[in-house]
């Protein structure tokens, strides 16, 4: 059924070399972190124990990894088989978004050698959102690798195992929708304990819903972005026809998110705070403008028809969703005692390196494994 093929391109290009260099820099700083501790590398402090390693690599990184989640929902749950060509690239981005998110958590843990205790049932505190996120993300990483396994099996020619796996894939597809719904909303729930430390512009009991809906929208946006950029970069047949159909789905989700957010803001009388002059308020408006722009492009037929506007809207959605997470976790968050936080250069380089590693592995995988459709012309 699958006509996906590996791209026959060189693995060594200027882009990959730059990415490798960035990854090496990141690993140098990680070495420093493991030799001399978190304080030697990161600016995180008692007021801001979660820096960009958590917010960018995990919270935003896994939202970028929601392509697999969003597409599985569409393809398997709503049975829209026509989107299947977008499935594997989406899974692949999810694979790296999540695997590297889990990797980032390990080096952000102060006492990472205790991490295995998460898996010991007698230490489990079942009311903990953090525990839910940790176990759920771990489980989803495994599910993603299983969902993506057919690509390996095809490459290795293990058709027998693949046939068995295909028969049971519906179980993993279902888990692949259930698990992200759980933990993407829990990433919002984690902020509920922050209470008044979080600005009322972000703090609401609807945080879990806002997080999971925006993660879904970002998941589709990633798929659209990837499909466009990859087909453009590697001169593959455009998938725009498929994407423009997807656009309406994304547009409706984005409109729903904006409605929920603003109704809630009005209901809590928090709107006046949006007219106070400060950096966080400015970023609040930027977030909303990005979401609104994406929604306007995706719900209008003209916007959906234009590949350029669609790409721009997908990027706006990704930027808006990322900024929303960054604001909720760092900018709109003010702990007591005038704590301040801005990432240090090594901290930034580690996050940049993790993202570079994600892109690098994505490029390596699409060039060595059957992920993308329609490279027949170049074979």
């Amino acid at each position: 059924m699958s006509t996906a093929t590996p791209l026959r391109r060189s693995l060594i290009t200027p882009t990959t070399l730059v990415l490798v260099a960035l990854v090496v820099i990141a690993f140098y700083f990680l070495g420093v972190r493991f030799l001399f501790g978190l304080g030697a590398v990161a600016n995180i402090n008692s007021g801001y124990p979660w820096g960009i390693w958590v917010v960018v690599d995990v919270i935003i990184g896994t939202a970028f990894g929601c392509g697999g989640f969003a597409m599985a929902l569409l393809v398997y749950i709503f049975n829209r088989g026509q989107y299947h060509p977008l499935m594997r690239p989406a899974l692949l981005s999810g694979l790296f978004g999540y695997t590297l998110g889990g990797f980032a958590v390990i080096f952000d843990l102060g006492r990472y050698w205790h991490a295995y205790n998460l898996l010991l049932p007698w230490y489990i505190q079942p009311n903990s959102v953090m525990l839910e996120v940790a176990l759920c993300v771990m489980a989803y990483v495994v599910v993603l690798w299983i969902e993506f396994a057919p690509a390996f099996l095809e490459r290795l020619g293990l058709t027998g195992i693949k046939r068995v796996l295909d028969r049971w894939m519906f179980v993993f597809a279902a888990l692949g929708v259930l698990l992200p719904t759980m933990h993407q909303s829990s990433l919002g729930s984690m902020l509920l304990v922050m209470g008044y430390k979080l600005s009322p512009l972000w703090f609401t009991l609807w945080l879990p819903a806002l997080f999971v809906i925006s993660a879904l929208a970002m998941g589709y946006a990633v798929v659209m972005f990837e499909a466009t950029v990859v087909s453009k970069t590697f001169s593959l047949p455009s998938e725009h026809a498929l994407i423009s159909k997807l656009s309406l789905v994304v547009g409706c989700i984005t409109v729903g998110w904006l409605v929920l957010r603003w109704v809630d803001l009005f209901a809590r009388d928090a709107v006046p705070l949006a007219f106070v002059g400060s950096v966080s308020v400015f970023l609040f408006w930027v977030e909303n403008a990005l979401f609104l722009f994406a929604a306007l492009v995706f719900v209008t037929p003209a916007g959906r028809a234009s590949p350029r506007a669609s790409l721009l809207a997908a990027v706006a959605l990704l930027a808006g969703g990322s900024l929303y997470r960054l604001d909720a976790y760092l900018v709109g968050y003010q702990p007591l005692s005038n704590w301040s936080y801005f990432p240090s250069v090594p901290e930034l380089m580690v996050s940049i390196g993790v993202i570079s590693l994600e892109i690098l592995l994505y490029l390596v995988f699409i060039k060595t494994l059957p992920v993308l459709h329609g490279d027949a012309a170049h074979r």
């Binding site: 290009t13 402090n45 453009k232 590697f234 593959l236 704590w339 301040s340 990432p343 240090s344």
Partner: protein, 387 residues
């Protein structure tokens, strides 16, 4: 773990066939074992030592305790009377053998003194002498007399045949309140009256009865004094500064002080250091065990009054009540950091530059991509360099 475990004790054997029947006066065997195990625990000894203490306390040949009063207020005895586990009568009649006590003995006058002398003769070399109160030395010691003898003579007489001497309270330890300037009676502590003989000091005004009882039971059990510090105080009770275990210590460390009685800080339970608390220079276990067996906080600092250093020779009755203590551990800074001071590192130039470069690259690459896409949806045929 196994190496430090004490030999297993068969409690059933220790308890005997009827552990709850009151056999030793009012105490049942079970209650006695519990009491002694508690004493052993407060001294940091194993539960096996508790059993040995119980055995020592009830053995028929246990040495008697002879208790002398000098210049004092009887507060130490009052303190002892308020020991509730066990109660004082069970304690005196069964646990320790208090054969003579100036205040508590039933007889009076010559009868009581004769009994004392008889006991001292009978148990010569075996009894424990407890002195409560200072001893006046000025003018031949005439300021405190019992039965025509001065306190100094009584102490020397008692100490001559004693197996051990315990000075209970600050007065017996080093003179106490009457030795404060100008010390009109020339009051001194017991150890100065009988130089050369070891006097275990259990200072305090008053001391906790359990510190005293623990010392006595230790002596009875092990036939030697417990570990003592340079002022001959048992280390199990006087090894730590009050400051170290004080429940108000976090306020000290955070710089939250009561500045006068009844002010905002005082009402909120802040540290009493600045109104003269001597906890930072006083070695005692008051914050850990409290007084009167009524639970947490039942000690001076717990009730809002500064410690006045009663267990220290150089502090109580010598330093002004509200003078600052000499902090023996960590000296507080003269100024504490402001609570609203900015914390955490700000934006460094390098970090700002990195963010700027990455942001610029992302925006630039995006703009280039959009520019290439400006045409129709169909893909360009010319292959790119390839990412």
């Amino acid at each position: 773990m196994d190496a430090i475990r004490t030999p297993a004790i068969d409690y059933d054997t220790c308890l005997g066939p009827n552990p709850d029947v009151p056999v030793y006066g009012k105490l049942s065997r079970r209650e006695l074992l519990k009491f002694c195990a508690g004493i052993a625990a407060t001294m940091g000894l194993s539960s096996a030592a508790g059993v040995r203490m119980a055995e020592a306390a009830i053995s028929p040949d246990r040495p008697p305790v002879i208790w002398l009063h000098g210049q004092e207020c009887t507060g130490c005895t009052e303190s002892l009377l308020r020991s509730y586990h066990p109660t004082i009568e069970a304690l005196l009649l069964d646990v320790i053998s208090l054969d003579y006590h100036d205040t508590l003995c039933v007889g009076a006058g010559k009868q009581a003194l004769d009994y004392k002398h008889a006991m001292m003769e009978k148990h010569k070399g075996k009894y424990v002498l407890v002195t409560e109160g200072g001893t006046p030395m000025k003018d031949g010691g005439i300021y405190c007399k019992v039965g025509g003898k001065t306190q100094a003579e009584l102490v020397r007489e008692g100490a001559a045949g004693a197996a051990a001497v315990i000075a209970i309270g600050s007065c017996a330890s080093w003179g106490g309140i009457q030795s404060a300037d100008p010390n009109p009676t020339g009051a001194v502590g017991t150890h100065e009256v009988i130089p050369g003989k070891l006097v275990i000091n259990v200072p305090g005004c008053p001391p906790s009865p359990y510190n005293f009882l623990s010392t006595v039971l230790y002596l009875l059990t092990f036939k030697r004094p417990p570990a003592l510090d340079q002022l001959n105080r048992p280390k199990f009770a006087y090894g730590r500064l009050i400051h170290e275990n004080c429940e108000r210590r976090p306020h000290f460390d955070a710089g939250r002080f009561a500045l006068e009685f009844g002010d905002e800080g005082h009402r909120q339970g802040f540290c009493l250091y600045k109104i003269g608390c001597k906890g930072p220079e006083t070695f005692a276990n008051c914050p850990a065990i409290g007084f009167g067996d009524v639970g947490f906080g039942s000690w001076p600092v717990g009730t809002g009054h500064p410690c006045f250093g009663c267990t220290e020779k150089a502090t109580a009755f010598r330093k002004p009540l509200h003078a600052l203590a000499t902090v023996k551990t960590l000296t507080p800074p003269t100024a504490f950091p402001q609570v609203d001071a900015a914390k955490g590192q700000g934006v460094s130039i390098g970090a700002a530059a990195t963010v700027g470069v990455v942001g610029g690259l992302v925006v630039g690459a995006g703009a280039m991509l959009l520019k290439q896409m400006s045409d129709k949806p169909k893909a360009t045929d010319a292959p790119n360099k390839g990412a």
